[in-house]
Structure formats: C-alpha cells, structure tokens
C-alpha cells in the first residue's frame, strides 16, 4: 500500500454527496417506491377481510401514513442527513434506537426491492406465456433488474431519480386512464359493484386483519427523507415532496380499489398476483391490457430503484458513524454516491429474491416499516419536548401535536395485532432478529463508535439533558 501516489485529503475539501435534486424528485422517490403496491399486493387486504374491509384498511392506514408524513416532514426538514429516520433517532432518542431504525430501513427497502424484482420476473413470464412461450425462466431478468438499477444508482443520483420520476408519473397516469376506461360515471355497464360487493365475510376481525396488507398501499413514502443530503433545499423540498406524495397515494389507492372491486369477485381479487392487469383483461381491450402490463413493470422497476437508493443511503450512514463497519461509509469521488453500500446490497437483494419465501420477505418488510412508525411516535414527542418550537428553526411544523403522534401509536398497535393474526410466527422471529441485533450492537459494535461526533446538528443542548 503506497499512499504517496494516492489522492488524499490534504488541501482538498472533504467529499460529500451531490446536491442536485428538487421537490419533484422527492415526490418521485416517495411515490415511486409505493406505487407498485397499487398494482399488486394491496389486494391481499381483500383476501383477509373482503372488499369493504379493504376500503376501510385503505383509509385507516391512509390516516396512519398521513400522521407519518406530517411527523416525518417536521423532523426531517430539520435533521437534514442521508440517514433519514436513522439520523433523527441518533439525535433525539439515542444510539441503540438509531441502530435499530437504520436496520429497519435497510431491511424494509432491500426486501421490498427483492419483491419488486420478482414482480418484474413474474410479469415477463406471463407475458412470454401470452406470446406462446410457456416456460420462461424469470431468474436472469430478476437479477438484471437489481444489477442494472444498482448500476444506475452507482453512476449518480440525478439520472437515477429522474428516471424514477418519469416511470412513476407514467404508472400513475395509466391508473387514471384505467379509471376513465371503466366509465365510473355509470354503474352496471362496466362496473358491477352492486353485484360484486358482499357483506364482510369475516366480520370486523377481518377488517383488522386486513390492516396488515393495508400497509402495502403506502409502504415506503417515508423514504423521501433519505434524499435529504442530496436535495438542493431540503427544508422546503422534503415536506413538499412528502405531503404531495401522500395525497397522490390516497387518490391512487382509492381509484385502484374502486376499479378492481367493480370488476373482480373478491375471492379472486384477494388471491391474484396481478389485479390491475386482470381488471384490464376483463375490459377486453388489448391496448389497456398492454398499458397495464407496461405500467406494472414500470411501477415495479421504479420501486426497486427507489429502494436501492434508500437502503444504500441508510447503510452508508450507519457505516459513516461506524455503527456498521466503516468501510461502507465511503463516497465515490467521481459519481458522489455511497458506492460500496450500493454494491454490497446487490447480492443481498438477489438472494432475498431467490429464497422463494416471498410472503416471508414481504412480512419482514412490512413489520420493519411498522416498527419504524412506532419509533416515530416517541421520536416526535421527545423532539418537541427537548427542542420546543422556536428554539431551533424548523422547515415545517405539523399541526395538532400530539394528536397525530397518539393516533399513529394507536394505529400501529392495531396493525401489530393484525400481523399477529396472519403471521404470528413471522412476527416473533422478526422481533427476535431485532433483539439479537440490538444485543450484538451494544456488546460488540458500540465500542467502535465515536461518542460526541454522532451529534452533528448545530443545535443547542437539549432541554432536560
């Protein structure tokens, strides 16, 4: 190792991520990760409790995420760092919490990315089938999706997220097109709600059970704040992009429910893997079918793309603080991306996709999300107590505090219960993972962490400490 020929820090500014993004990128990142959920996944709520249960879940979980978006916008318009909620936890709750939050982020996004890649693979297989080739092996395409998107991410954030924005917009517009195509202004011609909607098949317990997959309507919107170190004006762009995103999703989710339940019997809808494509098939228009095929693929690719972006930012931030091996804290000198984290997560995402445990992986992802929303409730309560309004500048202040926090906590508890109903064993094994990881962090990793440096925000001393 001859360091003398190498380019070093001397006389140079420290390296940093590139600040190039605007509010539209933030919107694209947030909505892009989620929108695939409207093309597949949300419909498992129908399976759990019937069509009306799905609509209730859509709005109840919509309320949960509105709370998440409000709280998150406030904190992340103030804590501007690539780690997002991880950095928030570090500054407001403490290191062990931060480590866990960082892991939630990485796990939720990497597993979601694997699921997205599988969707693309499945879609191609059914496409090949329609074109007369029955046994397509989807694996090379799954790998290609993950590797290609990682390569894009590696080469720079601007192109990556601009592509994301375009694909997300197209997928969203195609949902609107489908909505118009079913002639929503008249019942009984295309839409058959009066014949297809039934009473709650499981009663109210089914409604609660459906909350678990209701998460799927919105999971990932909170990932917007992972872009904080790369947007030009974080205090403005993050709240704008996030709140715009949640509104888009509420509209998209309701449209999706309305169209699908008006066309498909609930037992079918609850168990298909391609609800929107099936809905288009029933309309008998080849053009719409093709549109839904392309839109589903775009949504899945945009989602995988956003997930790679977010997971690598979280992994990178933890490496930078030495919560994880510091090797991952490097930034590419030319592309200014956390290139080692991006590269490291490639084989992991692929291996998740190849385990064949799709529902396990999805539940792990949903639960990791849920755990991080639970964290947000005490995060915001402590944040307001330790730095009251006016003591530091906030880019955005959310109204009605502490009502959103308490609502969020109550809804989280309900959703844990829903997960217990459907995936009790997975719930326990996910919890045991985080408990073991926490012990490992306290005993093994924390000694490597610098203490005062973790607190990087130029804030005054917190009240009460």
């Amino acid at each position: 190792m001859t360091a003398r020929s190498k380019i070093t820090t001397t006389g140079k500014k420290p390296i940093a991520l590139l600040k190039v993004l605007n509010p539209f990128h933030v919107w694209g990142l947030g909505v892009g990760i989620v929108l695939v959920g409207e093309f597949m996944g949300w419909n498992f709520t129908v399976d759990k409790g019937g069509a009306y249960a799905s609509l209730i879940a859509c709005w109840v979980i919509g309320l949960l995420y509105t709370c998440v978006a409000m709280i998150d916008s406030e904190v992340s318009s103030t804590v501007v760092a690539a780690g997002g909620q991880y950095t928030q936890a570090k500054h407001i709750v403490g290191p062990l919490m931060a480590f866990n939050v960082g892991l939630y982020l990485v796990m939720a996004y990497t597993m979601l990315c694997a699921a997205d890649a599988l969707v693309v693979g499945d879609l191609l297989r059914s496409g090949a089938k329609v074109m007369g080739f029955a046994h397509l092996d989807p694996r090379p395409f799954v790998v290609l999706v993950v590797v290609f998107l990682s390569w894009l991410n590696y080469r720079g954030v601007f192109v990556t997220l601009t592509l994301n924005l375009v694909m997300t917009l197209l997928a969203f517009v195609s949902l609107l097109v489908l909505f118009v195509a079913v002639e929503p202004w008249q019942q009984g011609v295309v839409l058959q709600h009066q014949g297809l909607l039934t009473d709650l098949p499981y009663g109210w317990i089914g409604v609660i059970a459906s909350l678990q997959f209701g998460i799927w309507y919105y999971l990932g919107i909170e990932g917007t704040c992972q872009a904080a170190e790369e947007v030009r004006s974080a205090g403005r762009a993050i709240p704008l992009g996030t709140m715009g995103g949640i509104m888009t999703l509420l509209v998209a989710a309701t449209i999706t429910w309305f169209v699908a339940t008006g066309l498909l019997p609930w037992q079918y809808l609850g168990q298909t893997y391609t609800p929107m494509y099936d809905a288009a098939t029933l309309l008998g228009s080849a053009k719409l079918q093709l549109l839904m095929f392309v839109a589903t693929a775009f949504a899945a690719i945009a989602s995988a793309n956003g997930c790679i972006n977010d997971a690598s930012r979280a992994w990178f931030s933890m490496g930078r603080d030495r919560y994880l091996p510091e090797f991952f804290g490097a930034i590419h000198p030319k592309y200014r991306t956390p290139y080692r984290s991006i590269l490291f997560l490639v084989p992991i995402a692929v291996s998740f996709a190849f385990t064949g445990l799709l529902d396990q992986v999805i539940t792990f992802s949903i639960l990791s999300g849920l755990l991080s929303y639970t964290f947000m409730t005490f995060n915001i309560i402590k944040f307001r107590r330790m730095w009251p309004l006016g003591s530091i500048h906030r880019g955005y202040e959310h109204p009605f505090h502490p009502l959103p926090a308490l609502t969020l906590l109550a809804l989280c508890c309900l959703t844990y219960f829903a997960t217990f109903l459907g995936y009790g064993a997975t719930l326990l094994s996910v919890m045991s993972f985080y408990i073991l990881a926490s012990l490992w962090f306290v005993l093994r990793r924390y000694p490597y962490v610098r203490r005062a440096e973790q607190f990087s925000m130029p804030w005054p001393r917190p009240r009460g400490y």
Partner: protein, 130 residues
C-alpha cells in the same frame, strides 16, 4: 468531567466478520418461521382437497353477476372453489397474544432504556467540552 472517549480502529477482518454476522442473523430469522409453517400447510391441503369436489356456482354462493365475471376470467366452478373455499382462521390464542405483546413492549422498553443511557453520554461529551 469525563475524558473524551476514543474508540479503537477496527481492522478489515473484523469488519468482514461483523458484516457476515448481520447477514447470518437476517437469513436465520427469515427461515425460522418455515419450521412452524410446514405443519400448518400440510393440514390445509387435506381440507381443501375434500371441499373441491362437486362444486356448482350455487353451492359456492355466487350470484349471477359474480358467475359472469368468474367465467370471463376463465374459471369453472371446480377451479373457483379452490379460491372461494380458501378461508382464514382468526381464532386467537390468548397465550401467544400475551407472549407476542410482551415481546414487542419489552423490546421497545429495552431500546429506550439503553438508548437513553448512551444518549446522556453523547450529550455530555458533546456539550460539556465546549
């Protein structure tokens, strides 16, 4: 005042070992529920096979509009019966529920307690020196 804490520098081997540890933990917890699942799945399959014989739209409780949509999706009553009769069991085991809530609540209490202790140390080192 306490002295500034200087962490040791970790070598490359240690970094690799630590990365591997996290990965092993993830895979183990992904595989773990399969042990419980395998038993439940076998049971389910038997029940389903028994119900699937001799289904008609009427016996499946499908009205005219529902029948029409099933047929347009390319389903016969026998095939649809597999989906229609696939129902969840929402009986709650109070012991498991108690255990699960204890685990989740205990986990968060543990997190908050340990974090608070570490956090005081961080704040002390950061602000007492300035």
């Amino acid at each position: 005042m306490k002295r500034h804490y200087v962490p040791p520098k970790q070598g490359m081997l240690g970094q690799i070992v630590d990365t591997a540890t996290v990965l092993v933990l993830v895979y183990v917890s992904l595989m773990l529920p399969l042990l419980f699942k395998a038993a439940a799945k076998a049971e389910n399959a038997v029940v389903q096979a028994a119900v699937a014989v001799q289904a008609t739209w009427e016996s499946l409780g499908q009205n005219a509009i529902q029948q029409e949509q099933w047929i347009r999706l390319g389903y016969s009553p026998e095939k649809a019966a597999m989906l229609i009769n696939n129902r969840f069991d929402y009986t709650i085991d109070p012991v498991m529920l108690g255990l699960t809530s204890a685990v989740i609540i205990g986990y968060f209490i543990f997190l908050l307690k340990v974090s608070a202790k570490q956090y005081r140390e961080v704040i002390a080192e950061k602000f007492d020196q300035e």
